[in-house]
Assembly symmetry: C2
Homo-oligomer: 245 residues x 2
């Protein structure tokens, strides 16, 4: 079965979906809203009644401290579901902003109850995603506290690449990175200056090559070893999932 839904292709990477499941998922992407690069999609503190399936483009969730600093808490790629991390809250704890032009399919929180009852296996899969993201976040925390600037940025780039590979298995060693060095700094906890120096030094050491926004790893295996990168996203343990009735 062919599909043009990034969500379906992401999930299919991990489990073989039943017809009922894919029909339900397809239904989630009925309406689409578009946002231009730099648009704010949800403001921190605003009631968050929907979650969103990302159809195309990148967006990110962030908080800015009163004293100028900005933290990029997460980055979303096509096929991701934005707002799962907000389910426990009535009001958004993060501001969501488009990093590129994006197309999103909104989906009311209220409609999730039915999914929880009728599609326990998909819920288990989303549960597993939460665990994956948690592990990736621990890796980031490790990077921020234990690694030097160069390794920290290198790890970040490897993580982005790994995320993209889920929905684009044939991505190879290069990809377009539409993030400014300021956003990267916000994500890893470094100033733009340090991010820039880290990137330049990765270039000098022939670990990466850049061409406009295209970034290419020249020796990702070696780099991964240097910074203890583990791809958390490639596989999930589905052995405990509920069966299909």
């Amino acid at each position: 079965m062919t599909t043009n839904s990034c969500l379906v292709s992401k999930l299919s990477h991990y489990v073989e979906l039943t017809k009922a499941e894919s029909d339900m998922l397809a239904g989630l992407e009925e309406t689409t809203q578009h946002h231009r690069k730099r648009d704010c999609i949800v403001d921190r503190g605003a009631p968050m009644e929907d979650i969103f399936v990302v159809k195309s483009g990148w967006l990110y969730g962030h908080v800015s401290s009163p004293d100028g600093g900005e933290l990029v808490a997460d980055i979303f790629y096509p096929g991701d579901v934005v707002g799962v991390g907000q389910l426990a809250f009535e009001e958004a704890t993060l501001t969501y902003t488009a990093a590129t032009d994006v197309a999103l399919c909104p989906l009311p929180k209220r409609s999730l109850g039915r999914i929880f009852k009728e599609h326990p296996r998909l819920v288990a899969l989303f549960f597993a995603f939460a665990a994956l993201e948690r592990a990736a976040m621990i890796d980031r925390l490790r990077a921020a506290t234990l690694l030097n600037a160069r390794d920290c940025v290198a790890l970040f780039l490897l993580q982005v690449h790994a995320r993209l590979r889920i929905t684009r298995p044939r991505i190879g060693e290069s990809f377009e990175l539409p993030l400014t060095q300021e956003m990267i700094g916000g994500a890893v906890g470094l100033s733009t200056v340090s991010v820039n120096r880290a990137i330049r030094s990765l270039e000098l050491e022939n670990r990466i090559r850049r061409n406009g926004r295209i970034l290419e790893f020249l020796n990702s295996a070696e780099l991964s070893k240097e910074v203890d990168f583990v791809d958390r996203f490639y596989k999930v343990d589905t052995s405990w999932f509920p069966g299909l009735d």
Copy 2:
């Protein structure tokens, strides 16, 4: 209904449990295993076939880098479920160690499938917990990258206090903190020396008082404001949860 299960009292803080739900939960705590302080409970890389309900005591999950640094990824308190963050993995990504003597109730991963099918409302609640923990982790990331040592440690202490309050609503302003300054450092990304200086300076500024392992906040409202602390754990949005049949 009275219970001596920390898990049941934690969950009851958020939703009113049905008889079927509490019976099921009580069943999870049938067998208990005990570990002494400092014992390793699960080793990183070991197959993780169970998750654990914490009956009493504290434990923590951590990774140590080859270069000596140690990251404390999470801390578990009575009523918590250890290993939910490992569900996506066949092998543990963290080492779990007892911070005090602990009593744990193991529960095979394989038995979760049934719960996902039969208790969607509890699954939704655990989903919401995952979101809460995620938010708390973002706060930690913010602390590690944007705050100075004093504020970072202060935020950590406030977070621990907030977690304990869930199962002990009448905890007041003081609590026992059985963590060494080294563990605190591992959790917030500081050296023991800096943790110590931060704690001492909070003491000098009359923000906290210590007596052995007992820690007391002298002005938690003011301190919370200083470090932008938000208690993520007190309330969850249950509006979207599936109904009871």
